[in-house]
């Protein structure tokens, strides 16, 4: 257990180092980028550099950087002229509002289809599910999103961009929620569809390998019906490898969110990353990078815990 925590912390520290180095390698002098004022005198630049600690040796800067990360001082956005945290965290919440339900739906449907497909192996159902999963897995997120937008633009009935309508954003909570639900439908569906395919494929193959185990034959010999066998023995055991793969894929889900959020103008971290790249807003990118890395690390840590809980053979002492 302590070892797991230590690994997670070490990974996060590694991320900090990488972020720090990448940020220093980027072109441009932070002071001139931040102030964008051609009339800055050399003396003023030196003064500002001093103010930001840029005159200190790199290792001191790194220690200060680490200290600031933990203190919640993540720098100032070049574009918004506001602390990165106050730019990042509201968008982070918006992202979670989109990602959490999309991921849950993708896991439920994906794993469910995988079970069905594996159980009915080599049937038409199996072939159908497997083929569509592969297609969904291969479809580019932005392309599916654009298709949806084109469809809705013709059919009508749903908003294709944003998170809530302007009228609803200041309206009563129920109106706000209704507007949110209508706005979230398309990006959530897109994100869930492009992610669920991989879960189906993983769950199916995991189920198939479980079916070849001797204990399955032994359980049949106990006089168990197929559905009970599936429910009590095969699915719980087949879920194990799937759990760890889902955790690893959280990273790709976040990456998929960048595309989905951009296509549907969802005001989340993904859109923010996309916009910040265009604006060369390095501090925001750095903060977003840290947050995403933190998410992946935490997801993997949680997956380890869940795994240990599910599999008695794994014990973290």
């Amino acid at each position: 257990m302590a070892k797991r925590i230590a690994t997670s912390i070490l990974t996060f520290f590694g991320t900090l180092v990488l972020t720090f180095i990448l940020f220093r390698l980027l072109p441009g002098n932070p002071v001139t980028i931040l102030f964008r004022n051609p009339q800055l005198t050399h003396a003023q630049i030196v003064l500002l550099a001093q103010q930001f600690g840029l005159d200190k040796p790199l290792w001191v800067q790194f220690l200060l950087f680490v200290e600031n990360v933990f203190k919640g001082n993540w720098g100032i956005s070049f574009f918004y002229r506001a602390p990165v945290t106050s730019v990042l965290f509201p968008d982070l919440l918006n992202s979670i509002i989109l990602l959490l339900p999309a991921t849950i739906i993708a896991i439920l449907i994906g794993v469910g289809l995988g079970i069905l497909s594996g159980w009915k192996r080599n049937s038409k159902t199996d072939v159908g599910i497997l083929t569509s999963s592969l297609v969904l897995y291969a479809i580019p997120t932005f392309w599916l999103g654009i298709l949806f937008i084109m469809l809705i633009v013709r059919v009508g009935g749903l908003p294709v961009a944003g998170m809530v309508s302007i009228q609803a954003s200041s309206g009563p909570p129920l109106v706000y929620l209704e507007s949110l639900a209508r706005h979230i439908l398309l990006p959530m569906t897109t994100l869930a569809l492009v992610t669920l395919g991989q879960f189906t494929i993983i769950m199916r193959s995991s189920l198939l390998s479980e079916l070849t185990e001797d204990y399955v034959t032994a359980a049949y010999a106990k006089g168990m019906s197929g559905s009970r066998l599936l429910r009590k023995h095969i699915v719980p055991n087949a879920l194990l490898p799937t759990v760890s793969i889902i955790a690893i894929s959280i990273g790709t889900i976040v990456a998929g969110a960048v595309l989905t959020e951009t296509v549907f103008s969802w005001p989340g971290v993904g859109s923010l990353i996309y916009d910040s790249i265009g604006r060369r807003d390095y501090p925001v990118l750095q903060g977003a990078f840290l947050i995403v890395a933190l998410f992946v690390i935490v997801a993997n840590f949680v997956a380890d815990l869940v795994y240990a809980y599910l599999d008695p053979r794994v014990k973290y002492s």
């Binding site: 001797d214 204990y215 034959t217 009590k232 599910l310 053979r313």
Partner: protein, 317 residues
């Protein structure tokens, strides 16, 4: 009256190379309360015979003939009726029980499962009963809380036996119950099975390649070769008066500590290709007594003495 009556049983497996004849025209009957040993080399069809009684053969199996258990024809039974018999009145202990237990379930829960399935026992009752059973087969009650990987091979085999006995079946099929165990544990398990027969008055069909082991515990012995019965008789008849050259060869090849330094004899050659078994007696290519008539010998086991039959031209030929 016979508890189990097998008539003209044929089992084939459809493969890409053609139909594999695993069991060919077997007649067999088991009386209540006896232990019958079924011996043969790998691929002789002995396990397939056991599996076809349980009807847990792979999907590509073709079964013909009749298996009558206590007045019920098993081969034409519906799935739901079969599930009532399987695991309840006929139970099975599998080869390598390390794999026949679900790795993620406490052993007491697995022992309790047949009782929950067949006797409408509630979970608590069944677990209490399971612990008693575990004690009966020589596993500490506290070990019931353990997972399979925490137990030794011998203990796991005992757990598998307890699991099979939990519904007090009339027939127990033990497929290589001691194969993966050391000699001391083998002897213990065999003694346990003998004791169980005496206590529960059940019929045991013990499948093994180890003729020496079988001849210690079993009342009767059946020798299978290439899907057919070579010889059948009481233990004494087989051991003292083997009439089939295959039986003679097998008995002669049993190594003994008294013969250290001298190589045990063996039967030259390999078992025939199950895709194209030779015409007539299938043992002919390896038999040192082979004659021309053997190629046309298609009869089943011939009468030697009461209860003793051998499928060889040398008998009454």
């Amino acid at each position: 009256m016979a508890l189990l009556e097998i008539k003209g049983l044929k089992v084939g497996f459809k493969t890409q190379a053609g139909l594999v004849h695993a069991v060919d025209e077997i007649d067999l009957s088991l009386v209540q309360g006896e232990i019958v040993g079924l011996a043969g080399e790998s691929g002789s069809g002995k396990s397939t015979l056991g599996y076809s009684i349980m009807k847990i053969l792979p999907r590509n199996a073709l079964v013909q003939g009749s298996i009558n258990f206590d007045g019920i024809e098993l081969l034409t039974l519906t799935q739901s009726k079969l599930e009532e018999i399987r695991g309840k009145r006929i139970a099975m202990v599998f080869q390598g029980s390390m794999n026949s237990l679900n790795p993620l379930m406490r052993v007491e829960e697995q022992v309790a499962e047949p009782m929950i399935l067949h006797q409408q026992a509630n979970e608590k009752q069944a677990v209490v009963e399971a612990r008693n059973l575990l004690e009966l087969v020589g596993v500490d009650k506290e070990k019931g809380r353990h997972y399979p990987h925490e137990l030794s091979g011998g203990l796991k085999q005992r757990v598998a036996i307890a699991m099979a006995l939990s519904t007090h079946p009339a027939l127990l099929i033990a497929d290589e119950p001691t194969t993966a165990l050391d000699v001391m544990t083998q002897a213990q398990i065999m003694r346990l099975l003998g004791r169980i027969r005496d206590e529960f008055k059940i019929t045991i069909l013990m499948i093994s390649h180890d003729l020496a082991l079988l001849s210690e515990t079993c009342d009767r012995l059946i020798l299978m070769y290439a899907g057919k019965i070579a010889e059948i008789g009481s233990r004494d008849q087989i051991v003292r008066n083997p009439r089939h050259p295959y039986t003679q060869g097998l008995l002669g090849s049993i190594p003994s500590v008294r013969n250290i330094g001298r190589a045990s004899s063996s039967i030259p050659g390999d078992p025939p290709d199950p895709l194209n078994p030779p015409a007539g007696c299938r043992f002919k290519p390896r038999c040192s007594f082979a004659k021309d008539v053997c190629s046309t010998f298609e009869k089943g086991p011939l009468y030697v003495e009461d209860g003793h039959y051998a499928a060889c031209v040398l008998v009454g030929g």
